[in-house]
C-alpha cells in the first residue's frame, strides 16, 4: 500500500482523466479564481484611479474637511468630515438597532407562539428585501414629518447634552433621522443572524437551567446569551458594515454640509457614500478621481469591519 503515492489522497478510484472532467473542473476553479480577481480588481482600480487626484491634492486628505476637487489644477479636498459623518450615522444606527434586534430575536425564538414565529421570520426577511431607495422615500416623505415634535421634546429636556443641542432643524432632515432610518434598515440583518444563533443553543443547556428552577429570563441570561454572544457581535458587525455603506437613505434625507458636528438635531454632516452619489453627476476635473479616493476609504473601512465580523462568527462555528 505504501508504495503507491496516491493511496493517501485517493478518495474516488480514478480511471483516465476524461476531457469533460478536465474542462468542468477547470471551469469551476476558474470561476472561483475570477471572484478573487474581481475583489482584487476593485481594490486595484480604486487605488489606480484615485492616484491622480491624491498626488495632486494640496491639502491633507485625512485631516481636511473641505471638498474643492472639481478643478483642473491644485485640488484641495479631504475626507475628515465625511468619515466622521459616516461613522456617526452608523454608530447611531447600531446603538438603536442592536438591543431591539436582540429583543425581536428573543421574541421569535422563545416568546412567540410557534406558528406566529414562522410568519415573523418571513416578515423579517421581507423587511430585509425592501430596497433602500424606498426606505429613503419613506424617510423623507413620512418619517421626517412625524419626528418634529419628538425632536422639540428632546431639545427642551435634553438640550444641555451637546448631542441634542438646539436649535432644532425645521425640516427634520438631520443626522438623527438618518441614523433612525439606517437602524430600521439594519434591524432585519442583525435579527436574522441573532435568531439563527439563538435557535442553535443546545436544548440540554436550556432545560438544565429550567430544571433548576430558573425563570425564563434567568434561563436566557444563563444559557442563551453566553452561547449567543459571538453571534450577536457578528450580526451587529454585519449590520454596521451595511450601515457604513448605505447611500440612498442618507442622500435623500440628510441636508448635508461638510462639517464635523455632534449636534444631531441640526442639519449638517455628510457620509462618504451619500457624498459620492450626490457629487458624482456634477464632478469635473479632478472630481471623479477624488470621489474614487473617498470610495477607497469607505471600501477600506467596510472591509475591516466585515473581516472582523466574519472572524468572530467563524470562531463561534469552531466551538459549537
Amino acid at each position: 500500500m505504501t508504495t503507491t503515492d496516491s493511496s493517501t489522497t485517493a478518495r474516488i478510484p480514478r480511471g483516465k482523466r476524461r476531457l469533460g472532467d478536465v474542462v468542468f473542473a477547470n471551469g469551476a476553479r476558474g470561476s472561483g479564481v475570477l471572484i478573487l480577481a474581481i475583489l482584487a480588481g476593485v481594490a486595484a482600480f480604486l487605488i489606480g484611479q484615485s492616484y491622480d487626484s491624491l498626488s495632486a491634492n494640496t491639502a491633507n486628505f485625512f485631516t481636511t474637511s473641505e471638498w474643492a476637487a472639481n478643478v483642473r489644477e491644485e485640488p484641495a479636498f479631504g475626507v475628515a468630515a465625511l468619515a466622521f459623518g459616516t461613522i456617526l450615522a452608523a454608530a447611531i444606527a447600531l446603538l438603536v438597532a442592536t438591543p431591539v434586534a436582540i429583543g425581536i430575536a428573543l421574541f421569535i425564538v422563545y416568546y412567540a407562539p410557534r406558528r406566529l414565529a414562522a410568519v415573523l421570520g418571513y416578515v423579517v426577511d421581507l423587511l430585509a428585501a425592501i430596497p433602500s431607495v424606498v426606505y429613503g422615500l419613506w424617510g423623507i416623505g413620512w418619517l421626517v414629518g412625524q419626528l418634529g415634535p419628538f425632536y422639540l421634546l428632546l431639545e427642551r429636556y435634553l438640550g444641555w447634552i451637546p448631542l441634542f443641542a438646539g436649535p432644532v432643524s425645521t425640516t427634520g432632515r438631520t443626522m438623527l433621522t438618518v441614523g433612525l432610518v439606517l437602524a430600521v434598515m439594519i434591524l432585519p440583518i442583525i435579527t436574522a443572524m441573532t435568531r439563527d444563533v439563538f435557535q442553535q443553543v443546545p436544548q440540554a443547556h436550556r432545560e438544565a437551567a429550567l430544571a433548576l428552577g430558573a425563570t425564563r429570563w434567568e434561563m436566557i441570561r444563563m444559557a442563551v446569551l453566553p452561547f449567543g454572544r459571538p453571534g450577536i457581535i457578528g450580526g451587529a458587525m454585519l449590520g454596521l458594515g451595511r450601515a457604513l455603506g448605505e447611500t440612498m437613505a442618507v442622500a435623500m434625507i440628510l441636508s448635508p454640509s461638510l462639517v464635523v458636528s455632534w449636534a444631531l438635531l441640526q442639519s449638517g454632516n455628510q457620509t462618504i457614500a451619500a457624498h459620492i452619489a450626490l457629487q458624482y453627476p456634477e464632478a469635473t476635473g479632478y472630481g471623479v478621481s477624488a470621489l474614487i479616493a473617498a470610495g477607497l476609504v469607505l471600501f477600506a473601512i467596510t472591509l475591516v469591519v466585515n473581516m472582523v465580523a466574519r472572524f468572530v462568527v467563524a470562531r463561534r462555528k469552531e466551538f459549537s
Binding site: 476553479r29 431607495v133 434591524l187 459620492i276
Partner: protein, 363 residues
C-alpha cells in the same frame, strides 16, 4: 411555567406554608397581565383626553411604561423579585417586537396609499420623453425597460459564475484556495453598493475614457453585488444533496462532471432557483451603483445596453425626489409601489418554487 401550584388558588388552603417558605411563592393569575394592560390603556387614554393632549403614539408609549412598572411592582409584591424581573423582561421583549412592526407597517401603508394615487395602466405604459418635470403626465415604462435589461444582464453574468464557484466549493475545492474563496465571498457580500459602482466607473474610464455611461456598466456593477449572494445560496443547496446519490452515480461508472450535471444539479435545482430569485430581489432595488454607471437623467425608452444612459425604477424614484415638486413625489411613490410589488412577486415566486419543486428526498 416552572410552578407546580395551582395558579388560581391564592387562598390560605393546602400548601400555604410551603409558599410562605418561599419555595414556590405566590403566582399572579393568568388573566392579570392582559387585564392590567387594558385597564392601564384606558386610564392613560382618560388622562390624556382630560389633558387635551391625546394622540396615539403618546398613548402607546405611556401605556407601555405604565404597564412595565405596574406588572413589575405587582409581581414583586405577590410573587418574588426574580419573577418580577422575568415579567419586566417579558414586557420589554414584547415592546421590542411591537416597535419593529411600526416602521414595517407604516412603510407599507404609506407606499400603498401614496402610490395608488398615480399607479395605473397609463403610468406603466409611457415614458418621460418630452415631459417637463412638473407636467401632469409621464410614466415609468422606460425605467421598467431599463430595470429588466440591466438586472437581466446582471443575472446572465452572475448566475454562471456564481453557480460554478459554488460547484467548485462543494464538489472540487480543498485546501487554501477553497478557504480563500469562502472567506472572500463572505467579505464581498459586505462591499458597499456605491463602491461596486465606483469600481465599474474606474474600469470604464480605463477602457472607454471618461463620461461613458450605459446599461452594461450598470449590469456589471450589479453583478459584483449579486455574485456572492448567488454563491452563498447555491453552495448551501448543493451541500444538502445527499452523498449517497453521488456515490450511486460513481458506482455506475458515470464521470464526475456528468454526475454533477445530471444528478447533483437536478436534485438541488429548486433551491438554486429560489436562491437566484432572492438574489435578484436584492439587486433589483440597488440604486447607488446605477446612478454612477447607467446615468440618472435618461427619459426615453432605451433597449440597448451598450449605447447611452438607461433609467431604472430605483433611480427613477431617486431622481424624482431630487426634483422635489408635488407631482414628482407622486411619481416617486407610484414607482416605489411598482418596485415593491416586483420584489414581492420575486419573493412569492421563490417561495412557490421551493415549495412545489423541491426534490422528494425522503423516499
Amino acid at each position: 411555567m416552572a410552578t407546580t401550584t395551582d395558579p388560581t388558588s391564592t387562598g390560605a388552603a393546602g400548601g400555604a406554608h410551603l409558599r410562605n417558605a418561599g419555595l414556590f411563592g405566590g403566582t399572579l393569575p393568568r388573566w392579570v397581565p392582559p387585564a392590567l394592560l387594558v385597564v392601564l390603556a384606558g386610564a392613560v387614554a382618560g388622562v390624556l383626553l382630560a389633558a387635551g393632549a391625546f394622540n396615539a403614539p403618546l398613548l402607546a408609549v405611556l401605556t407601555t411604561v405604565a404597564y412595565a412598572v405596574a406588572i413589575t411592582v405587582a409581581s414583586a409584591i405577590v410573587e418574588n423579585r426574580r419573577r418580577a424581573t422575568d415579567r419586566l423582561v417579558t414586557a420589554v421583549v414584547y415592546t421590542c417586537f411591537a416597535l419593529a412592526m411600526v416602521p414595517l407597517v407604516s412603510l407599507l401603508w404609506t407606499v400603498l396609499v401614496n402610490g395608488l394615487q398615480r399607479l395605473d395602466g397609463y403610468f406603466l405604459s409611457v415614458s418621460m420623453n418630452g415631459v417637463t418635470p412638473s407636467m401632469d403626465a409621464g410614466g415609468v415604462y422606460h425605467a421598467i425597460v431599463g430595470t429588466i435589461s440591466i438586472t437581466g444582464f446582471a443575472a446572465l453574468i452572475s448566475i454562471p459564475i456564481g453557480l460554478m464557484t459554488a460547484i467548485y466549493l462543494v464538489e472540487y475545492g480543498r485546501g487554501r484556495l477553497k478557504q480563500a474563496i469562502t472567506f472572500f465571498v463572505d467579505v464581498m457580500t459586505g462591499i458597499p453598493s456605491i463602491v461596486a459602482g465606483l469600481f465599474v466607473v474606474a474600469l470604464w474610464m480605463l477602457l472607454f475614457g471618461p463620461g461613458n455611461t450605459n446599461g452594461a456598466a450598470g449590469a456589471i456593477s450589479l453583478s459584483v453585488l449579486m455574485i456572492p449572494v448567488v454563491v452563498r445560496s447555491c453552495e448551501e443547496m448543493l451541500r444538502l444533496v445527499p452523498n449517497e446519490l453521488r456515490e450511486a452515480s460513481y458506482a455506475l461508472g458515470v464521470p464526475k462532471w456528468l454526475t454533477i450535471v445530471k444528478v447533483v444539479l437536478p436534485t438541488a435545482i429548486a433551491g438554486i432557483t429560489t436562491g437566484v430569485m432572492l438574489a435578484l430581489a436584492r439587486v433589483i432595488g440597488e440604486t447607488a451603483p446605477l446612478i454612477l454607471t447607467a446615468g440618472s437623467s435618461a427619459v426615453a425608452i432605451n433597449w440597448n445596453l451598450f449605447d447611452g444612459q438607461m433609467m431604472s425604477l430605483p433611480v427613477f424614484i431617486y431622481s424624482q425626489v431630487r426634483m422635489g415638486g408635488a407631482i414628482n413625489y407622486e411619481r416617486a411613490w407610484a414607482a416605489a409601489l411598482t418596485l415593491i410589488l416586483v420584489v414581492m412577486l420575486l419573493f412569492l415566486l421563490a417561495r412557490l418554487v421551493s415549495r412545489f419543486f423541491a426534490p422528494k428526498l425522503g423516499r
